[in-house]
Symmetry: D2
Subunit: 355 residues, 4 copies
Amino acid sequence: MKGFGTIIHGQTVGFLEKNIPEPGPFEALMEPVVIAPCTSDVHIAFEQGHNPARNNRILGHESVGRIVKLGEGCTEYKVGDVVVVPCTTPNWRTLEVQDGAFQHSGGLCQGMRIGTSQDGVMAEYYLVNDVEMNTARIPEGVSLESALMVSDMMTTGFHGVELADVQFGDSVVVIGTGPVGLMSIAAAKLRGAGRIIAVGSRPKCVELAYYYGANEVVNYKEGDIVEQIMALTGGRKVDRTVIAGGGTEQLPIAYRLTRPAGGIGDLVAADTPPRLDTDTAAFCRFVAHHKFSGGLCPGGRRRAERLLDLIKYGRVDPSLMLTHKFNGLESCPDAFELMHKKPQELVKPIVYMNV
Amino acid sequence: MKGFGTIIHGQTVGFLEKNIPEPGPFEALMEPVVIAPCTSDVHIAFEQGHNPARNNRILGHESVGRIVKLGEGCTEYKVGDVVVVPCTTPNWRTLEVQDGAFQHSGGLCQGMRIGTSQDGVMAEYYLVNDVEMNTARIPEGVSLESALMVSDMMTTGFHGVELADVQFGDSVVVIGTGPVGLMSIAAAKLRGAGRIIAVGSRPKCVELAYYYGANEVVNYKEGDIVEQIMALTGGRKVDRTVIAGGGTEQLPIAYRLTRPAGGIGDLVAADTPPRLDTDTAAFCRFVAHHKFSGGLCPGGRRRAERLLDLIKYGRVDPSLMLTHKFNGLESCPDAFELMHKKPQELVKPIVYMNV
Amino acid sequence: MKGFGTIIHGQTVGFLEKNIPEPGPFEALMEPVVIAPCTSDVHIAFEQGHNPARNNRILGHESVGRIVKLGEGCTEYKVGDVVVVPCTTPNWRTLEVQDGAFQHSGGLCQGMRIGTSQDGVMAEYYLVNDVEMNTARIPEGVSLESALMVSDMMTTGFHGVELADVQFGDSVVVIGTGPVGLMSIAAAKLRGAGRIIAVGSRPKCVELAYYYGANEVVNYKEGDIVEQIMALTGGRKVDRTVIAGGGTEQLPIAYRLTRPAGGIGDLVAADTPPRLDTDTAAFCRFVAHHKFSGGLCPGGRRRAERLLDLIKYGRVDPSLMLTHKFNGLESCPDAFELMHKKPQELVKPIVYMNV
Amino acid sequence: MKGFGTIIHGQTVGFLEKNIPEPGPFEALMEPVVIAPCTSDVHIAFEQGHNPARNNRILGHESVGRIVKLGEGCTEYKVGDVVVVPCTTPNWRTLEVQDGAFQHSGGLCQGMRIGTSQDGVMAEYYLVNDVEMNTARIPEGVSLESALMVSDMMTTGFHGVELADVQFGDSVVVIGTGPVGLMSIAAAKLRGAGRIIAVGSRPKCVELAYYYGANEVVNYKEGDIVEQIMALTGGRKVDRTVIAGGGTEQLPIAYRLTRPAGGIGDLVAADTPPRLDTDTAAFCRFVAHHKFSGGLCPGGRRRAERLLDLIKYGRVDPSLMLTHKFNGLESCPDAFELMHKKPQELVKPIVYMNV
């Protein structure tokens, strides 16, 4: 079968030819129905030097898929069923699950397997481990496009708000207005935030930031983020900050923005060292009763079912983020390249594969 | 000055004549701008037998007030300022505050003072203790009517959802569609609930239940609540239940409705004994990892500020509940009587006092 | 093979003859090394009327076992390994696990299988499901006797303290000084409780209550529990209450004992209806910001490993509770009968099976 | 009156002559009974450049004091009463209290006033604000020496364990074996930790680390902390880490030591910039579901009462840390100098002032 991925990790991407995999116990072989390229695909393909284990690896981890073949032990689904496949598909029979860290089942961040440690969704077929525990049917009334956004953008963006522990009426800053940031804004509103201040710059993203619930959007290109926000609040720190964009340089910014006993949720996974040495004062606040929590997005069927219910019951419509549309496996290189270049008008692309 | 309240507790209500009180340190003398009679006023007037300490007591605890005179130590407000007065006005210099139970500062439920242990708002004037810690200015863009609903209905209804600990996508039952129940529905939606099932019967309340976020409303007059809800969910228990109406007979119902490890938030304050002996099976579930939490509504200036921000930033509009309007202190007996009779079309009344 | 259990549920117990079961995938066939009869065994045998599904069912759920045969997929253990078998052995591939209710995987309380829905440990052999996820090796320095107490008494007693959410310096009441109550006392001390008041009467249990950390023991036979405890505290309610004995009549007692915003942990699983109608005032306190949580004991390998570490590192020695010793499967009827009669000097028996 | 403190902040310390202060409402004038110099006193005197507001400021914040004169509004104490004075004495009538950040009432870390923004305890007399809300009587059976350790060492050390959220059987690393670290070790044991690994080097401190509950002590002078600890655990990360010593360079160490979804409690308040740029990999783990919380020690009368109860009921004896004894105000310069030099055999000094 054909797939698009890394030929030599860190250097070249392109089409690959591989054998169709065989589903083991509790696994399913899927064909992609719709998929969404992700900025992480670019990171996974090109960052962290050259990792030989990632040579000849098909990319892509956001998908709605159709079940083609079921492995031993699967009783709930039948061939032809269409399900949301979350980007995190933990092995539930691991001790990390008993420690409340199912995202890290089998090792740090190893709950995210598809498109990293196993072949991804930019292919004719792909495997999903423990399909009954890790995927969810699409409820009536939920579009394929919205369902696709559950796979990564919603669960990740919403997790930032969970980590920051937003409470009724809290003031919240969301740093970043890419698709994850937009979902953090939607989540902050849905979690009962009062004032929501977003940090972003691209016009289409800013427009959607307001749509999803931001009351003000600060442009980091127009001055220091902290100064701009303190000007809006009259110098009062906010209750919660979600870091949903940028790199580790956002950490001291988040500390400077957030009040004592406030919460900071961090979704930044960048490998670059944090540039903290420039800001002594911010780190003195490390003792200021901040709760800082970082996290990889939760997976699991119940998580996906809950997020799908939010769409079904009209609480949020993530499909408005899909600004760019592609058709077929052949278009994957173009869609990938789009994520690499990130033009001004881009929010999130979708590729219709086998609808 | 004149006020409306209990002449003999448990027996008669009517107009009283009392001296205008003098504000002590940190206190303020207020005149009511708008007030809202509450079902609790009827309970406070007539229930719990005859409590001589509640003779000659002015009723009413929901108000927006105008500051007439400030006691010693008040520096932040000036005479003429209009503020929301939450129904719970704790004494912040008590050990209960250090134990996280500020609603109970000075004794069980003693954080609620106005209209119970001190004279209430159905009067020409009333006192507010620790006015700078307990009241909040009304932000631009928030109507008097909406601000008034912060005093009790919003803080109470929202607290039910906090106690039940609603999470993203959770299925939630709200028992009761009176004004507190309606605010629990709005709060469940704002806290990220997926499916919301309300239990109520009066047509105007049912209409508003849908407006505030309920997806289905079950009429308890048309059959067993649990059976009706299980029919909707296909027998699946819900994640959270908020008891915002009825009496203690709702407790075993909530236990039967809620899944293991789910949450139950209880706002029922009734003095009648629970009728639990009829349902053994429900109580076996007492061990079923339910988290059951009851609570009097939080007070304090920051709480009120946060709820006002929810209105200011367009997250919720509680003013739609104000179905009945009255004018002046003279109308208080009629407004009180309305709460007593609870006609079908009633949700919540407002009395315009000194606008 | 031979086992001791219910011949006719609800009526007769005795020895049974059954086939040796075959371990399925991830399962292990065990022979018991040491086991402990439990009061629950008596309840399981004789209560809840006649449940035909429990006819011909071998009893017993507390054990240390030796692996005799391993099912497909087991890679970590080898035949001959000796492990603690917790009484709760969840199926980790269920949606309840994703909802944080692994004790209830597969249905309410269905995480507890051994000796209830499958044959128990009072036998020549017994099965353990998902043996690598559900059992733990015994660390060096931990006796068989102490390890055996991890299976149920420690995890249950400690869970009561987790549910009550004891904090540093809190005053704590533990109702009950049977082995579960004694472990709740030890857990309260280990969780940082200040004053610990126990409620019990049998002399040996009272002696051990002091040993495990109680500062005072109140005898419920000598007067009203609440009055006796309020006499000790000068009328001050305690921060936390653990219900580790008695029936549902303890619920309103716990509400009367505990301060607003305090916590109540309930380990009572009795099927009898609560006698609440006699105490109206206690239930008004249902709104007094109590957090009430009930719970079946957690299982899982990591839980067992953590409790074993508490023994290994000298934090607690549960083996002192083992007051009565038996030898061999033939002694099981006597040990069972002992739990039925509960003589004054009994705390907990152990049966040495295949040491 | 005479006191010892900063003459010119950042440069010189010595004896000062000041007027005896007059207690305002709710305040008390105290004479010190016993006091303890603290490493923080040295920081407060000499760090953060030259702060003119700290010229002529009496140092010292740990004390047991005797009430000499009571301000208006004080009804509970009488002149001559001896009380523990916590180093954090918040103003309870501030909005920060309503936000759960009473340590920061009036501004970041402004809940700690004595010896920083107001004159300290190394004096003939000193003031305590809101004495009834902020101090606690010493229960029968608690020595002056132990009571003194409640003021800062116990509340701070115990808070590290609260922030790291230690659970039953957790493995815990405590970085630092100074008096705060020793109290974190004692607290970890009292919170139910399993294995406790401490990091320290001075012999007397190491001896006490074992006494208070450490199972192993790693010497940071003998190699990389992480490597040494991973050698002990077989490469397994620990559940919780408390940073109770060193500077901000401990942050990435804590991240490297702690498992995903584990907790890190940070008590480091150093003003030096963190040296994070040397360890990229550690910060990638910023997303590894760690919960990181920093915190200034809690104050308040209930906190002190709870810690005193831990001593009263025999849970911990902090007085063993008092290795060096001084007598009288005249000895304060020597005691202060001792904290500056920190000789090998030092753990914590006490000064007997007016016993």
